[in-house]
Symmetry: C2
Subunit: 590 residues, 2 copies
Amino acid sequence: MVVMLNLDMILKVTWLVTTVGFAVLLSDYLRLRQQQCTEDTTGRPSNLPDRDHVQQGSSVWCYGDNNTNRTCKFSNLCFSPQYQQFVFFHGEQTVTHGTHNRFQPALVDLSSVPDHNTQYFQYVDLPASALTDFKKVKIYPGTSLIFNRFNPDNLMHVFHDDLLPIYSTLRQITASDFGPFNLNSRLVIMEGWRPGEFIDLYQMFSTEDPIFKQDLLDSGELACFTNAYVGLSKATTWYQYGFKVPQGPKENITVTGMEIRQFTDFVYVRLGIENTGLTETKYIVLFSRRLNRFIVNEVDVTIALAREFDMRVITLSMESHTVPQQIAVIRQASMLIGMHGSFLTLEMFLPPGAVVVELFPYAVNPEHYAPYRTLASLPGMELTYAAWRNTEQQNTITHPDNPWDLGGIAHLDPAEQDAILRSIEVPRHLCCRNPEWLFRIYQDTVVDIPSFLKTVNTAMKDAEANKQGTCGTSTCEEHYEKIYPGQIVDVTCQTVRLSDGHVGLQLSWQPPWNLQYLNAKDTGYEVWIQEQGKASYMPWILPFTSHVFSEGIEAGLDYNVWVRCIVNGTVVGPFADAVQCVLKVHEPQK
Amino acid sequence: MVVMLNLDMILKVTWLVTTVGFAVLLSDYLRLRQQQCTEDTTGRPSNLPDRDHVQQGSSVWCYGDNNTNRTCKFSNLCFSPQYQQFVFFHGEQTVTHGTHNRFQPALVDLSSVPDHNTQYFQYVDLPASALTDFKKVKIYPGTSLIFNRFNPDNLMHVFHDDLLPIYSTLRQITASDFGPFNLNSRLVIMEGWRPGEFIDLYQMFSTEDPIFKQDLLDSGELACFTNAYVGLSKATTWYQYGFKVPQGPKENITVTGMEIRQFTDFVYVRLGIENTGLTETKYIVLFSRRLNRFIVNEVDVTIALAREFDMRVITLSMESHTVPQQIAVIRQASMLIGMHGSFLTLEMFLPPGAVVVELFPYAVNPEHYAPYRTLASLPGMELTYAAWRNTEQQNTITHPDNPWDLGGIAHLDPAEQDAILRSIEVPRHLCCRNPEWLFRIYQDTVVDIPSFLKTVNTAMKDAEANKQGTCGTSTCEEHYEKIYPGQIVDVTCQTVRLSDGHVGLQLSWQPPWNLQYLNAKDTGYEVWIQEQGKASYMPWILPFTSHVFSEGIEAGLDYNVWVRCIVNGTVVGPFADAVQCVLKVHEPQK
């Protein structure tokens, strides 16, 4: 512990000076440390919580109606290694809010992948008195985030299902006086897999080591988490894997490029990713798969790219580069090219304005497998995405004799095999064992250079056009974070006599006070005028802040008026409170 | 600041010893302090956040679909005294989650009273660059709870709308290693009223003074709250005041007596409420209203009660006792009696087993005005409630000439006045200006002693009976906090040949492991058996953990089986995972 080391240093130095000074100093220092960090902060106490803390009872607060939209915070949530279940102790201080329907089918999802039956979180109820039957209790103080990794061996799953959701969840939990993200919370990883090759990426969220389910099982003690959040935010995910309907972008995507880039900035800092030292200002990254789904003529492709665009082509692979090394290179690249595969998740580290080209084997429709297309197209990502597809059967190399999970089809009926071989496009299908999909996606491809270069050229031109039309990430936040005009103010209404003898209703108001700060190219006002007692109203759209209304207006009647501001045609502010206008016509004095 | 004082002490002591020692020490100490309290805690920093912290942008995370079920947490939420509006700065670190429909009609309610148009919270958007136009920025670090008091002059509103919801909200926010409630957060009270006579009650939640809207207006500076929660939990409320439908218990009450008593225990500690020193083990509290709605013969009632029950009768009033004094007396009372009125909220401080008798003036139906009946009847409160109603018109004293808000009706049409005077019961009505209701509730009453004593006697007998049937608050948590049986385990199925030659399906399982800790007077198992491929299933309820099923069972078919445990007839545990049973009949070897 850093603190203790430092204390030792002080003690040593002071000891050299005088033992009297030391004695006074130590007691003062200890008192000070205790006061400061128990009275003045809400963090870790000097007296760690103990069994008595749990004895008061567990508590849970959940929001949401079902396991998939729910999020839960717990006090004193425990895990029993013996029963391999979470345990909730009902005691004097127990609160349970929002846990209705907790068995239909579960309280909350442990993963950002929604409603998957391997990801259900449940707990078992016990009275607090039962705590005495647990001989050993280990308390985990501070804040813990308890979750499942969905597929920790696949980079797309790691980033999409876990890392971004962990980042988003912990930002919400840990935002504090220190800044938007605090590294003090603890990851508790419960899916039960081994740490895996990407565990370093998970470790960037905390200065503490993650706890794995196996650690809890090995300890044999009841593990109690003082302050535990269960499950991951689904706010940053953009893709669904086809468990219930064929895979595709998820409905109601809320994540923006701005949020993705907050995450990537965090990654640069936490992984210590510096400039690569590359001297080129522009270069292309080509990702090379070394195990399967090859670009057979990868060298030819590399040479063709370098010639065509007069840029260096840097080849990356999982076997030759660590993820941080890959990120460092991608961070400054102009273009990223690769066969469909999880590596392409790293496109999120491309600089704004860059190009992504994804290659697809024969008979695989790029529109149907779009996690990287969707990511690149998020508002604010400012990437240009293009797909290239092998349309020539003679350029594909199939592997019918592979194991089934690498696309082999030898185990199938001959008729079924034949149907797959004759099919020219994999029909849409559910996850995860469709043999035709696996057969096609594990093909190797001889890339047809002319058609490929055409795709890349078009993408580069699109990227140039996009750059002209955008304003650069630093200055055009309003494109993807809606900044709304506020309420209009100072509405006045008065009756005017029109030249044709009719009465008019003159309305005036002042613009919202924040309008001056909005990048408003176009400001309009929507006005609703309702005769009192009527259900219907007349809606108007005006470019002014003052107008005389005469259509449908009659002297002697009362009207309710609502006005709101609309910026750039689509950003609609709130209505101001209704104003009552009484249309009294004063006849001129005689 | 405590820390600085202590630091000064250290410096002084050390200075006396040696200047060399001091120099080393100070730098070490400062480094240590910074590391410890920025890295090791999540509370207040040594370096308070400043304008740069806000410049990074505000963030908001909300759960819920509309203003009434939503709850929001903010980083860097600011308030502009000039515009009297909250301000949200869109900057580099801005996140906005769950703010959809924020103008329909508002983001979130500032009060626990749902969807009241005086309680709407909104903010105005600004780009972070606009921060430079605010000359002075005052940062409020740490955790702030921003809310409106609904009616801070009325004790029922104070407890029901504010104090209990604040307690519930802050428990969720502040539960930590230190215990279930932390006093470090700050109340920011925004309804704009003066502090009021009950402000001491609000101060029990924090060691910091509350901030009022007027404080923010007076300062003239942009006020920015580093970590702000907006609005109050509605989880503890039990009553709706009749804004949309006539008043009554709210739908879907979730609060239990257990949670109310967690709050009252908190109040005892925080208000320093000790034993009263009263020597009586049993006494009756009679609440005396001193301004209106009098019990005209209060002295007679007091004497009659004392004689009938041979107990001391203690009279309390708002004018003669502070709220803590009243609570101290009520905390040990056997019975609480009072005319309908906000004082009766204090019944929550009665000990379990006590009796509440609420009196109603002539023509007021006790069933229609039930905040205190509902509170007393919450599961786990263990109070016995009775209403007494004046049914004799000659025993009521009306005040037709009062101001309208104290029940006067002189301002009404004579026909309307006449109708009110002839009515024998106030019809159900909406809040808040029904003249017949106000007329009747501000009557004084001569209590008919015999009928009143009959009501009280019945209530006392009911309370005795209730005590026999219950088990005391400390041991019967399961009555109001449902402790569910877990999943059954070790399901096995096997085929058996029945004596009649048919086949049977023998199912066995083990009870949930937590069953031994449940106060299970009766344990049953629900078994669903489904022939594979069929949509329908056969449900069974059994008292055993093993059974041979034969009805509808056929050899050679496969069945899916689900089993769950049901305790005491109504507490239904989760189903265990489905088990597949294959009914193979092995003919005996020949």
